[in-house]
Each structure stands twice: as structure tokens, then as C-alpha cells.
Symmetry: C2
């Protein structure tokens, strides 16, 4: 039994609520978890089947008209481990039941539209777990730090995001927003590894250091976004991510808890089972 | 070492070539594989890491301008195990590197367009392994069996498909087309299981028996499609699928072989590594 490694439900410890201060979160901490890396990996492996079955139930429910779905939004500084979370947590789910989308720098076509236009096009269907690798929050993060839009336009976006997410929640989407939080020192180590290893060079971009130079500005932009857009409909969780294993197991736990609360059930047959057995026997 | 279970490369035994006769393929056979279910499962697990790494290399290549990608087309009678192949073979790949799409009965909007219109919209991007759960072949299978279009329209589609796939191949897509081949008896057993188990009812549709009643017509339509559209650019493989474990390990092997032939390499750095190390140290 690996559950004992969770001393308590981590969600309340990770959730952004009134008075939240990002600068007080220790990126190397492992809230509510009592074990080490090895324990984290066991918990991750052990809970994968449950995660996978809950998703399948949610999908089955959607085949009978259910509209519920889950959206996991991942935001972070470079190298914080979004990709690893997707690979190791979401990777346990049937690929037919998840939809991962990475938002890059907006294309000219995307820029012709409202910032939520491209987001809406990638929302998960009923029964599916959608994962956003970056999201509409880029439009209040890098956009704010680099003044990619007039200040009043960016200012208006927080309210637009809250309204948008509230609409999604009302139509059956459980939204989980996660900021993976690393320290500048850990980022340096991870960038150094990308420079050392030939199989990691492709992940390195000299522009990463330009963003890194704006660390305090990004932290400020995150603080504003987190405190202004963490709502009951779409709460933010700040997950310490200097330990990759912790970030993974914590995000898995947030997903699991959401699915357990949804508690999807296998749909009842909409046909006469005995009649169909007879038809099958005669076929 | 699990490789010894493959006595030889299964591809030539599974490929559709001149003189192919679907009725001569034994759905319960396990071509080129010497082991049993347990061995098949070991091979599947052991080869997953290689499959996953090859896909990551292909993706890395695409980040440096590579255009190569893979498209796996899955076709089969109901219950043949497409879903299981996706879950157990494709599920080993990073979800960021695969794109699974299930084609359903065409929507009114899709019907307003050429039959390849909706297919083109779901093609994988560079570096990605696309998987079609059903495909444009439905338009020469169910469409033929149920006369969903005039005979001459369907007749013209074979050539249109060949031209389309040849275009994809020319622009960097490695296409692997697989028919999972089950027997009517095995289908009966699998449908019976769906009727027995409450957690499987949602997968059962009374219409499945109407399709089942047309078994010989479907086999004929498959025979025509297989012999007319198996090309060097986009070969068909008929994979015996009465043993689920064999179907999975065989499709994994076809994917692995395709990726090994592509032999994607980690891209060289496009920046000055020493210079970046210096910048990083100073950051």
C-alpha cells in the first residue's frame, strides 16, 4: 500500500487562496508527502491503473450522453517539467482518452483573433482529459512581462479568463490549473544538462536565457495571475517542482481527486440484454 | 532478451502482395512468433522503451526542420481490438508525440465535402505518430457494403486513395495500414462478453449485429480494398487478431521497424554550446 506516503490531501496545501504569496513557496518542498523519490515513483506507478480506469468510466459516461470532462492547465517557467508530467502522469491514460495540446507563440492567424479563440479550438470533448501545455495564461504572463499588448488590454484579460473558465465549468468541465514552481538554481542545473547532453541539445534555445533574465518579472506576473484567477470554478495549484518526482505525483493526485469526486459510473445498457444475447446466439 | 520470440521479420508474412487472398489468412495464427501470450506480453513491454525513444528522436528531428512523420491506419471488424492496440502499443509513446483520431459516421458537415476532407484535417504533424481508428477506408468498406454512394463514385475512390497516400508519402509520411483480422467465432465471444459484463455494456451496440450479419460482404470489400490499395508507398498488413496479444506485438513490431528504418538522429546544436554555457553561468 503506497497511499500511506500521502500524510494528508495535498490539495489544500497547494491551492491558491486569499493571501497567497508565491515568494513564500519553497520549490524544493514536498507538501503532504512523507516519502522520497523512490516512494514517489511507487505511488505514481500504483495509482496509474485507478487514474486510467476513472478516465475510461468518464469516457463511457460520455457515450451515453454525459458531458463531463477534465481540463488540466500546465504553466511554468522553462524546464520546470511540464513535459515530464505529461509523459509520466497523463501517459498512463489511454491515448484515446486524453488530448494534449501545446500552445506555442501565436501564429499570424491566431493573432487576428481574440486570445481565447485558439484556446477554444483545443478544448477536450466529453469524457476526455484535456491537457494544455501552456495556455491562455501566456496572454497575461509573457504578454505582461514583455508588453506584447497594451496594459489595459492585458488588464481586461483577467476578467475575460474568469468568465471563460466559468462558462467551461458550467458546461461540464472540471478545470485544474497547475503552476509547476522551480527555483532559479534548479533551472540553471537543468539548462546546463541540456547543454551537456547531445540528446538534449534540441530542447535548448538561446532565447531561454533571455526569459531567465526576467525571472523576477515573471514571478510577479504569476503572482498577479494566480491571485486574480484562482476561483472555485477553476482553482490554481502551485506545485513545488524542484523534485520532478514530487511534481508528478502531486499532479497525479490532483487529477485523481478530481476524477474521484466526479465518480463516473459505467452506464446502464440502453438495450434489452437478454434479447441481444438471443440475437447474438442466432447470428 | 525477448527478441528471440520473433523467429523472423513478420512484415513479409503479413504484407498484402500480389495474389493475396484474405480468406486464406487464419485469424488465430501468430506468424513469425514462436511464443505464447506471456511471451508476447514480455516482448511488448520490453520493446516499449525503444519505440518511445525512436518517436522522441523523430520529434526532436522535426524541431530542427524535419518533416518526417508516421501514420498508422487501423481497420477491422467490430471487436477486433483496435482500441487495445492503441492503448497497449501507442500508449507506450509520449502522449505529446502521438495523435489518435477515431473516425465515426460522417457528420452532415463532413458529408458536404469530398471523403478525404475530414481525413486531411487529422493528419499528424511532423515528428508525430498519427493513428487513425478507422479511416478513409470506411468509404470503400461500409460504403460499398451498404451502398452509401453510387457504385461509380466508390469505384473512383480506390484511385483517389492511392493518389492521396502517395502524396502523403512524398511529403514525408511513412504509412502503415493494418487490418486486424478476427474470425466470426471470436467476434461472437467478444460480443457475448460485452453483454455479460456491466462494465462492457457501453461498448455494445445492437447495430453491431446488423454489421455482423454482413460478414461475407465485408470480407469481400476488404479483399478488394486490400488488393487494390496496397502499394509501396502505403502497404497493407493483415494481422491475425483472434489472439489479442499477437495483434498488439505484431503492430508494435511494424511500427518499430518503420521507425528503425527512418533512424532519426538527435539534431546537432544550432547554437554555440560553449558560448551558451558561459551565458548560463553568468545568468
Amino acid at each position: 500500500m503506497s497511499k500511506r506516503h500521502w500524510e494528508s490531501d495535498p490539495a489544500p496545501l497547494l491551492a491558491v487562496s486569499t493571501g497567497f504569496d508565491l515568494s513564500k513557496v519553497d520549490p524544493s518542498s514536498t507538501p503532504a508527502f512523507s516519502g522520497d523519490k523512490h516512494d514517489g515513483q511507487s505511488v505514481l506507478a500504483d495509482a496509474s491503473d485507478e487514474l486510467s480506469e476513472l478516465q475510461e468510466r468518464l469516457y463511457a459516461e460520455s457515450r451515453s450522453g454525459g458531458v463531463r470532462r477534465v481540463l488540466l492547465v500546465l504553466q511554468a517557467m522553462d524546464t520546470a517539467g511540464k513535459g515530464g508530467v505529461i509523459r509520466h502522469v497523463v501517459g498512463a491514460i489511454d491515448p484515446q482518452g486524453s488530448k494534449v495540446y501545446g500552445f506555442k507563440k501565436p501564429t499570424p492567424e491566431e493573432l487576428e483573433h481574440d486570445f481565447l479563440w485558439r484556446i477554444r479550438r483545443q478544448l477536450p470533448g466529453a469524457g476526455v482529459i484535456g491537457v494544455f501545455d501552456r495556455s491562455h495564461y501566456e496572454d497575461v504572463l509573457i504578454a505582461r512581462v514583455r508588453s506584447l499588448a497594451p496594459a489595459e488590454v492585458i488588464e481586461a484579460r483577467y476578467g475575460q479568463i474568469i468568465a471563460f473558465e466559468s462558462e467551461l465549468a458550467a458546461s461540464g468541465t472540471t478545470i485544474i490549473k497547475v503552476m509547476l514552481h522551480i527555483s532559479p538554481g534548479e533551472q540553471r542545473a537543468r539548462l546546463a544538462e541540456r547543454l551537456e547532453r547531445a540528446d538534449k541539445h534540441w530542447k535548448y534555445n538561446p532565447g531561454d536565457l533571455d526569459e531567465r533574465a526576467l525571472w523576477p518579472e515573471y514571478q510577479k506576473a504569476y503572482q498577479v495571475a494566480l491571485e486574480r484567477t484562482s476561483t472555485d470554478d477553476a482553482p490554481w495549484y502551485v506545485v513545488p517542482a524542484d523534485h520532478k518526482w514530487y511534481a508528478r505525483v502531486a499532479v497525479q493526485r490532483l487529477l485523481l481527486d478530481a476524477l474521484r469526486r466526479l465518480d463516473p459510473q459505467w452506464p446502464a445498457a440502453t438495450f434489452d440484454i437478454e434479447e441481444e444475447k438471443k440475437r447474438l446466439a442466432e447470428s
